[in-house]
Amino acid sequence: MTAFSNQSLMRNKYYSWIIKNLFSSWVNSLMTVVAIIFIYEVGTFFLNWAIFGADFRTNFRGELITDRTLCSKNISPGEFGACWAIIYARWDQFMYGFYPIEQVWRVNFVYVLLPLAIIGILFDKLPFRKYFIYFTFIYPFLAYFMLYGGPGLSVVGTNKWGGLLVTLFLGVTGIGLAFPLSIVLALGRRSKMPIVKSLCVVFIEFIRGVPLITLLFTANVMLPLFLPDGVNPDNLLRALVAVTLFQSAYMAEAIRGGLQAIPRGQIEAAQSLGLNYWQTTRKIILPQALKIAIPPIVNTCIGLFKDTSLVLIIGLFDLLGIGRAALADMTWTKLYYEVYVFISLVFFIFCFGMSRYSLYLEKKLKTDNS
């Protein structure tokens, strides 16, 4: 009887899953208990801090929080929850920096169109993909016009840009500009011409050997020295130069990996058909190499997106810079955890999304090739 009921229980797939993954031996059971206690302690603490015990717009008395002294935890010593009011109060700065508030619709416009500009590159089986790709090429000019201004729109200098706008601007533009440059560098590194090859190798290895912060410093301090009098790029542009060069070196290495994975026979077959170097490269090698290289390229993009936070050190106000500025303000000072947790969450959403996409591509490549 017992043997029978055991068997029927074992047939239950949930039961067997639990046994296998949580209670397979006494060590495993002990680990399960420890893990449950750990999750319970950490989870309840965090949820109480972030949600159940937290102030959002109002404190426990129901007053609207306009500065830190009105946070529940600063009124009553028993309260310890987060005070998210700082995020509400600084929301515009987090999203747009110091962009004039009546012009913010322009930034929103650019934000809304960004997914449309990217989606064509991301998914190759998208219906009407051709038109999305066309839009991808129009988008940078449109975005520049909308953000900076021009005929019909008032000019908003880049010193007014900040928050997510700067983070996304540096990330997206840096990746976009670095991409063609990195293809040139990767091809140059595989070139048979010794001078071209060594120039590319030295450039790539130099950039990869130094920290981004030194490149940002160099661009910030030395770019004005290198250029003639009339040309004086603003801070954001200088950071963009550094970020682009940095990203292109890393991306070039990712692309080189793709190039190396192309079998020699492909090149020989193309040559025997009478294609010259550029035809071979453009029609045969690059399409295949880039396809293989996309997952590592996306990984370098995640790295770059995180690294844009470094620009705060040269005085730009990206998300983290805006956060620190908010904390430096006497009305909101000391709400460190709220600000940093919020910014972490924003970065996490973007980077985690990109890494999921990279995984999806890797899986797709595997099934495509087999």
């Binding site: 399960t32 050997g209 130094v210 030194t214 410093f217 301090v221 995180k306 470094l310 620190r324 996490f348």
Partner: protein
Amino acid sequence: MESYFVRKLIFDEKSRSLLIQTLVIGLFALFIYLIAQQTAYNLEKRGISSGFDFLNISAGYDISIRLIPFTSEDTHLRAYFVGLLNTLMIAVCGCFLATIMGFLVGVIRLSSNWLFRNIAYVYVEFTRNVPVLLQIILYYSILLHLPKIKQAIEIFDGFFLTNRGFFTPSPIFKEGFSIVLCSFIVAIIVSIFIKRILKKKQEQTGKQYPIFYINSALIILTPILFYYIMGRPLEFDTPVLKGFNFKGGMVIRPEFLGMLFGLSIYTAAFISETVRSGIIAVSKGQREASQALGLKNNLVMRLIVIPQALRVIIPPLTSQYLNLTKNSSLGIAIGYADLVHGFGGISLNQTGRAIEIMLMVMLTYLTISLTISLFMNIYNKSVQFKGNA
């Protein structure tokens, strides 16, 4: 004749590549020349002098975290070395801690317990998708929010956690301690010999010896024995609260701890992924074969899986060490006095020699990076397949 020459340039591969390379090098030289000329002009116009003579001028600022003595009268060159040592210190400590944490998390990620596996997974995803700079700043502000010195938390006897750093007892080496140290080193050397001899014997006779226990006992007991023979030549200076500060002992500053936690927690997430994939890469057959030979689980891990996994792990591990070292330059955000903060920041502002200083800083990082890759490549070669595989 002329047209033949032109045609050869365009259609002959060798002459064409020569032409292209001449063009490239010409353009490159022109580019360098234009920049150099413009820079010289700009420097002259702004009245900035150049050269490395500033290295001998006294720096005029103080560095709180230092491994070698430094005062504000010391030169910029010395400030450079103080910064370099601080960079190396955080890089070495960070790599060490990150490796331990990374291996631990990587093994937990493969644990048979579903909950442990996923706790490690959540840790990895959350730490590697958030900028390391943000993490450094976050941990630093947590450290700054520890209790003030008056209300210091005492974790063990003589260890205090405060918002001004972590106060610990400092060792005082008295006469005769060097002998204890020597005995320790001799014990290690002797244990290596013992291991060799016993291994040889084992190969000849097939009898197994408890090499590990013999050697551990030797390495641990010898220095302890000499410690008591020499009359206990080691004392600890415990920090004592006097007035507003601690007297005695030593302090690990929050800047250092913030950097250490930020860098190692971030890098450990990446290392754990390489460790995990390295262990997965060892084929199941290897494990089953060694179990069939009757090896115990820990021996399977130590003798079969780990040595093969290392071959896969070492190359990405190298690049993680390089990343950590480069990320140590972020100390400037929280005031950790590394190369970029002290020499590359304050010295640069004081002397205005941007080109020279940035060049020195960049070349230093380049040298560190190349040295790390060199040593890791040597190590990598030693763990790769030997023979004709």
